[in-house]
Amino acid sequence: MVNKINIWYFSSFIISIIVAVPIITVFSSFFETTGGYVSVLKNTFLLDYIYNSLILLTGVLTLTFIIGVGCAYLVSFYKFPGVNFFKWALILSFAVPAYIYAYSLTAFFENYGTAFSILKNLFGDGNYNAHIPKFDGMLGAIISISFSLFGYVYVLTRASFHYQSQNLLELGKNLGFSKQKSFFKIILPSARPAIVAGLSLVAMETLSDFGSVSFFGVSTLTTGIYNAWISFDDLTLANRLSSYLLIFILGLFILENLSRKKAQYHTSSKGGFKSKSVIQLFNYKSILACLFCVVVFFLSFLFPVFQMLYWTIIFPKHLLDLNLIELFSNTMLLVFLSCCVLILLAFISNYGNRVSKSKFLEMLNTFSISGYAIPGIILAVAFITFISWLDLNMINYLGTESIKSIFIGSILGLVLIYFIRFYSLANNGIKSGYLKINYSIDESAYLLGYSKFKTFRNIHLPYLKNSVLLIGILLTIEIIKELPITLIMRPFNFETFATKAYIYASQDLLEAAAAPSLLLILIASCFILITSRYILKD
């Protein structure tokens, strides 16, 4: 037992504690008193908020499942015109943040919006406004969030399908399964951890979203959280509502874990890994497959890009006014520092868990999802509150100087919060990579006299290269898009593309927001393209 409490265990433990800081701060609200907003909330919109949150969640999960798994399935198992293009093009949807998608959707379909202009240019004057469908409200929110998030499900499912051995498929054939039955009985269940991981990320981002839902005027539980803090100055209630949100998500996780029971998902070492052969599609089937991918690609990427491009071309002044070099270097600095920190610490933590096989550490790790589940602003505020508290105690008991300015309004503080926020992504991504490596490989290595570090470096790393790249790209894109935390924590005179776009959009100058939005999308797209070859190597 003593050798279990080693450096790996300890490091993993420390990391989990840091990530748990906001969740501790948020839950401490249960020990404080709230103001009168609780009763206002209960009497008016609380049930509505909860109902809307559930509808939104269900809608988004369903849509992302269909699109994400559907696309992954088609491009993994079949050959049809354009399949090689769509394999990576579908990931480009990651480059579009949900809030930019929301701007595009609104701008296109609003009264006298882009759709109106197009119709007027094509057909002359007319009362088009009454006939243009308004994708606002719940429908608009579901569509925006789904199209900007389905990428999680797509990428993780695709990676899982990639590793699926031909053996599994031949098993299906031998049992006389039709293609459909094979899909539902063998392929889908075996990709379950990946699909669930993807859907979990989608669920958390959906519940904590405020930008898109507020833009569409949809009032979810997060609206209640914001109202509590912003309008009623009741941070305690805001934290408490966030806690309920977290408990709900944790509950979902536990449910999923229980239903998975002890199923193992690593590939069997017997029989070896046979790369699967793809099936060529013909006639109407190939057209349908192609069409499905075209529609998804258009809606998830081309549509918002065209809207942003349209504005940038009509109002070029906004593009010329931007200080591109400064915005770019600020954004990249944050990306580079954060990715290094996140991947390194996620590795240490994962390896620590693997080596010590401690259930306690596993459980602690689950709390790391709070980074995703708590709305961004609440997370940042919890962090600031904690630093304040820490600072006060350090000054009083240790007589140190104030540490606040080290963490608030500095790059260091920003990177630290990014770490807390995105840790779950890095951790789970590397964990699902590790799930594929049977522990018996580790044991063989130890028998051969390898140290833990050597095992890690010589055996795990090569195996996990793809996972690391994948995680790196996902993290890069998330950080480029990140908004609420960056807004509150950044230093003076420090703007990123995301903050710049927000600043214009908040003044209702969406045409001005188009230029930084477009650049944000382009840069994120470049990262996706550069590494897509590595992610999707067949």
């Binding site: 009264n111 009454a130 606002d136 309008s231």
Partner: protein, 339 residues
């Protein structure tokens, strides 16, 4: 090579530490034209202006938690209620100087902060469906009149400008009357509240409603063409109306700023505030943001003048009072099922 890097790093470290003559601004107002003004200020006075812009509450929280260590000198935002709330939390210090006092009417400032520019929240109507007679003597209170059933659009209850408007109604008419008013207004809404101010005006232009409530500058923005030709044409279909001309005047709100309690550069902050209230600066602001000037002797943008310049502004209701009624205002709005 390593030594060179070390030297460069040390020098740059010291450079940023040098006593730069500066002022640090936390701004919830995000206009590009403000940045241009700050640059002008720097070239005139040599004082560097450091800006961080963001959402009100987040900035406030950061300043409060930073406490004595906060480097923030000036806090600028676009709603009197927010300034008032911040003040009541004891975050400001005396921001007055003789120059500011003489430039700004007492209604639009308090001891610890001052307005910099004004805006009005008015009614827009469709002349095709609403005649001048219908609007004779129209007031905010009359928006609750059943004759407007299903004909009004206004944005959501969480919008700060609506909260300030309702706060001013509470101040003038009392909580009970305003509660009744809110319920009847919600019954008069043409649709569930959604969209921003501009969307309300466009809804009237598109025939979805007959009356909209929105701030003045959005209208001018559309008329200017910077929103595209379609919206420029749409704005022309709608006309502005300044309510309450027969009694206290039209509801006004301000953009303003105050000096923070632990400001490290207080003198520079006062200089910046005074600068923003000079004729040149005011002209620059109103030409770019379509707000009304705070000082005498400056005319607003042509498009704003065309809307009707010499309307009666509500100078009786102190904007400083919006803050303390905003939470009650939201409560009233939510209880009236105002989305």
């Amino acid at each position: 090579m390593k030594k060179l890097i070390l030297i460069i790093l040390t020098l740059s470290f010291f450079k940023s530490m040098s006593l730069a003559n500066e002022v640090n601004v936390f701004s919830a107002r995000h206009y590009d034209s403000d940045i241009q003004l700050y640059n002008k200020f720097t070239s005139q006075t040599g004082i560097k202006v450091n800006v961080i812009s963001g959402k009100d509450k987040s900035l406030q929280k950061r300043i409060i938690e930073e406490g004595k260590n906060s480097k923030a000198d000036l806090y600028i935002t676009a709603d009197a209620g927010k300034l008032g709330l911040f003040d009541s939390n004891g975050m400001f210090q005396n921001s007055m100087s003789p120059a500011i006092k003489s430039a700004v009417p007492s209604n639009f400032r308090s001891k610890n902060w001052t307005g910099i520019a004004k805006r009005a929240r008015i009614i827009y109507y469709s002349p095709e469906r609403v005649s001048a007679n219908d609007l004779n003597g129209m007031t905010y209170e009359a928006l609750a009149n059943p004759k407007w059933k299903g004909r009004i659009v206004i944005r959501q209850s969480n919008n700060i400008y609506n909260q300030s408007l309702v706060a001013s109604l509470i101040d003038n008419n009392g909580k009970k009357n305003t509660t009744e008013w809110a319920k009847n207004l919600v019954a008069n809404m043409a649709r569930d509240s959604k969209g921003n101010d501009r969307a309300q005006i466009l809804a009237v232009a598109a025939g979805e409603a007959d009356l909209a409530v929105a701030n003045t500058y959005y209208y001018a923005l559309m008329l200017s063409g910077s929103k595209g030709t379609e919206q420029q044409a749409a704005a022309k279909k709608v006309l502005p109306f300044f309510p309450n001309q027969g009694d206290r005047g039209t509801h006004m709100n301000i953009s303003g700023g105050g000096i923070l309690k632990y400001a490290p550069n207080k003198d520079n902050a006062i200089k910046l505030l005074e600068f923003l209230l000079t004729k040149d600066a005011q002209q620059h602001i109103v030409n770019n943001t379509y707000e009304y000037p705070m000082i005498e002797g400056v005319e607003p943008h042509e498009l704003i003048k065309q809307m009707g310049f010499n309307f009666k502004q509500d100078l009786k209701t102190k904007v400083a009072n919006y803050g303390k009624n905003q939470a009650i205002a939201l409560e009233i709005m939510l209880n009236a099922k105002w989305k």
